[in-house]
């Protein structure tokens, strides 16, 4: 009796687990970067309204998480497209290849500027990348060359006599965020490189160089404010002496509350990011699994919508949401390679 019921239970469990969910899918599945998410979702929504296809489902997993899912296999239960706020890494291409994802199309959709901003009523900041590095790195060069000391700077004036005498207090994203990666890579490393002897380390010991340039101080001057950029804007408003680090679209939406600092003499603006003169901007991408084209309805049409002038052009609806578009020629070339699903050449770092 007892044995029978146990057997029956086992049979029940195995039979239910045997149900397969691999049947076809009628909507596109997209994963990836939270920075690209606001843009991809607008395209998806317009695509869903304008055509008769279903609206794609978009998960915000972060660039790394997205590529991991994307590369986890070639089956229909894996995502069709992944968004990324950085280029795919060699290790990820290898992971993809290992799992049978060999044909990928890379599409660059534009740029994102990273803002260093403070409250409207606060001081005007004209920062350089070097100032940012000296103010925020964990260890900074000491008086004698080749020596690193724990960051002694308390106010911006200590860093650079031309800056206001306010406490260094910067609200920024946590290390899990792509914005933080880009900030470390472009702003901190950019300032770090201005010291020749540190730059020289790069050739000998890449890891040491990275740890010098990318490590943010932990004594309370840099405050991790969580992934929510709205929160940073709110906090800046309440604390006029603090600065915040976030994406350009949030500055664009909150221009009545906060203002962006100029970096290396270049003001943050739509035009300056577009022409590349604003130094802290990064390219945004998405990657398409070519093998899914034709299996999941609408991929071709979705890419066409995304690469339409109406969407990513200078007057398109994506720029309204804060995307910095590519140049006109670049857009043309990119649209062509995207729509013909040009296979990505394997890049090496």
């Amino acid at each position: 009796m007892k044995k029978k019921s146990v057997l029956a239970a086992i049979a029940l469990i195995t039979s239910t687990s045997g149900i397969s969910f691999a049947a076809g899918r009628d909507h596109i599945e997209i994963v990836g970067s939270s920075t690209v998410y606001p843009f991809a979702t607008v395209v998806a929504e317009t695509f869903g309204k304008r055509t008769k296809f279903k609206t794609p489902k978009i998960e915000s997993t972060g660039s790394g998480g997205g590529l991991k899912l994307f590369c986890s296999g070639n089956g229909i239960n894996t995502p069709d497209i992944t968004n990324s706020s950085r280029r795919i890494k060699q290790s990820e291409v290898e992971l993809c290849a290992k799992n049978g994802v060999t044909k990928i199309t890379e599409v660059q959709i534009g740029f994102d500027g990273i803002t260093i901003a403070n409250a409207k009523k606060g001081n005007v900041f004209n920062l350089t990348l070097k100032d940012l590095f000296l103010a925020l790195a964990k260890e900074v060069p000491g008086k004698t060359g080749g020596e690193l000391i724990a960051n002694p700077y308390k106010t911006w004036k200590d860093v650079n006599p031309e800056l206001p005498e306010t406490k260094i207090e910067v609200l920024g994203p946590p290390p899990t965020s792509g914005t933080r990666d880009a900030f470390a890579e472009l702003a901190l490393e950019g300032g770090c490189k201005t010291f020749d002897w540190i730059k020289a380390i790069k050739k000998q010991d890449k890891r040491k160089y990275k740890s010098i340039c990318h490590t943010v101080r932990e004594d309370g001057a840099f405050i991790e404010a969580g992934e929510n950029d709205n929160l940073i804007v709110q906090k800046l408003e309440k604390n006029p002496s603090a600065l915040g680090v976030f994406g350009f679209s949030f500055l664009d939406q909150n221009s009545d509350k906060v203002k962006g600092a100029s970096i290396d003499g270049v003001e943050i603006s739509f035009e300056n990011i577009t022409d590349g003169s604003y130094p802290i901007s990064r390219p945004l991408f998405f990657y398409v699994k070519i093998d899914h084209v034709g299996k999941v309805p609408g991929i071709t049409e979705f890419i066409t919508e995304f690469t339409d002038e109406d969407a990513w052009g200078e007057d398109g609806y994506l720029t309204e949401k804060g995307l910095i578009p590519l140049g006109e020629d670049q857009r043309k070339a990119m649209a062509e390679s995207a729509r013909s699903f040009k296979q990505m050449a394997i890049i090496s770092e």
């Binding site: 969910f21 599945e29 607008v42 929504e45 609206t55 992934e227 709205n230 939406q253 009545d256």
Partner: protein, 427 residues
């Protein structure tokens, strides 16, 4: 002798009274403090959120010009579907405000009306092609910036550079108000539409349906399993058996496990091993079942235990089998307690986001889910997604969504209390 005792007591009396007074004071203060916190929270949510229940509409005279659209009454459905309604809206705005020059201003003009206007117009024409060639007045959704301004969240006394609405836009809006072409109405959109990236079009229907389906899956799985487990452990399991003790300890521990762990488990087992599709109410329900099981089992066991043994013994004495005793007497008598536990467990599951993060339910889903296999989000996830959106108008919608979720939670808890009050039996 007795004299000294009273002395000692009297000497300490003042201190003891003071101690009691202090204790009462502390107790009262803690209640006051928690009430103040609750009040501050509720006030901040309600004061921000109530305005989201209204939405600004704008009235436009649209000339459904057949030439501009490139279609006529006799065109087929596909042609009607893909005609250029955007142009019609643009023309109507241009006619209303002639002489707008410059890229920036033209764009601002276009942005008085929500992007949904062209699709609304399309649906109207599809429904009634006779409209073509006529001029009609329709109310359309106003763009989020206009809406925010109408609700008084943009200060027009600020210098122009600090405002999202510029002077020329203000002039347009003032003209529209003067002509009674701007109107605030109850925001039905909030309940009838699904998620959107345009705040004025965004609604909660998708999330509400997603929550409903997820809760259905959770309820239909966790209730029978939990009740069966509780009944077995209480009534049939051998007493003082080491295995039974082990299981009991584990169930109690499970109730204290952080919910994200269940999400990881769901990711590894349901998605990884069994291939359940991500982002569906099915996987959400399966994971939340794991989370609510211990809560319901513990409550059910307590309820079953509280049924007096005399009733069971009487039934046995009259010749009922143990299963009969369970189904005819114990369970019906324990049901109010079991249901209360279930509702509390479900309310907990309704407000959960952390485990859903791992299984892909934190996603943009614009279609209203129609079954447990369609992609979906749930209410708390929708709140999280809106709170993270850059558009200003989403902040009031975030608060409004919290209000809706709170209303559901309060309702569920009320039902639990009513059930308990109504059916509770004292022996």
């Amino acid at each position: 002798m007795s004299d000294t005792t009273t002395k000692i007591i009297k000497a300490g009396l003042k201190k003891r009274y003071a101690k009691e007074k202090r204790f009462r004071f502390f107790g009262l203060m803690s209640i006051v403090i928690s009430f103040v916190f609750l009040l501050v929270l509720l006030i901040s949510i309600f004061s921000k959120g109530w305005s989201a229940f209204q939405q600004t509409y704008v009235k436009l005279d649209v000339e459904l010009n057949e030439e501009v659209l490139g279609i006529n009454k006799f065109s087929n459905k596909d042609a009607l579907f893909s005609a250029r309604y955007k142009k019609i809206i643009k023309n109507s705005l241009k006619k209303k405000f002639p002489g707008v020059k410059g890229r920036k201003q033209k764009r601002a003009l276009k942005n008085l009306v929500s992007k949904s206007a062209q699709y609304e117009l399309r649906d109207k024409v599809l429904k009634d092609p006779e409209l073509l060639g006529t001029t009609q007045s329709f109310w359309f959704l106003a763009k989020d910036d206009v809406d925010v301004f109408m609700k008084g969240n943009i200060d027009r006394t600020l210098p122009e550079s600090n405002r999202r609405i510029k002077d020329y836009q203000l002039a347009w809006i003032d003209q529209l108000i003067a002509e009674d072409r701007l109107e605030k109405r109850f925001n039905t959109q909030l309940f009838s539409a699904s998620d959107s990236r345009e705040p004025e079009q965004a609604g909660l229907k998708g999330a509400l349906m997603g929550s409903l389906f997820t809760m259905l899956v959770t309820l239909s799985l966790s209730f029978p399993i939990a009740v069966a487990a509780a009944a077995y452990l209480e009534e049939f399991a051998p007493q003082n058996n080491r295995w039974v003790d082990l299981i009991e300890v584990n169930i109690n521990n499970l109730a204290a496990v952080p919910s994200i762990v269940f999400g990881l488990l769901g990711l590894a087992i349901y998605i990884g091993l069994f291939g359940v599709p991500r982002s569906t109410p099915l996987i959400g329900g399966l994971v939340l079942t794991l989370m609510t099981l211990p809560t319901i089992i513990i409550a059910s066991r307590a309820a079953i235990k509280s049924v007096p043994p005399s009733i069971k013994q009487a039934a046995v004495g009259l010749g009922a089998s143990r299963v009969q005793v369970l189904f005819h007497h114990t369970l019906p008598l324990a049901m109010p307690g079991i249901l209360t536990g279930t509702i509390v467990g479900m309310a907990q599951a309704l407000g959960e986001t952390a485990p859903l993060l791992m299984i892909g339910m934190v996603a943009f889903v614009a279609e209203v889910p129609g079954s447990i296999m369609d992609p979906a989000t749930v209410m708390p996830v929708q709140i999280y997604l809106w709170s993270d959106s850059p558009e200003r108008a989403f902040s009031e919608r975030t608060s409004a969504a919290i209000m809706v979720l709170l209303a559901f939670l309060v309702m569920m808890n009320l039902i639990a209390i009513v059930l308990r009050k109504k059916f509770e039996q004292r022996w």
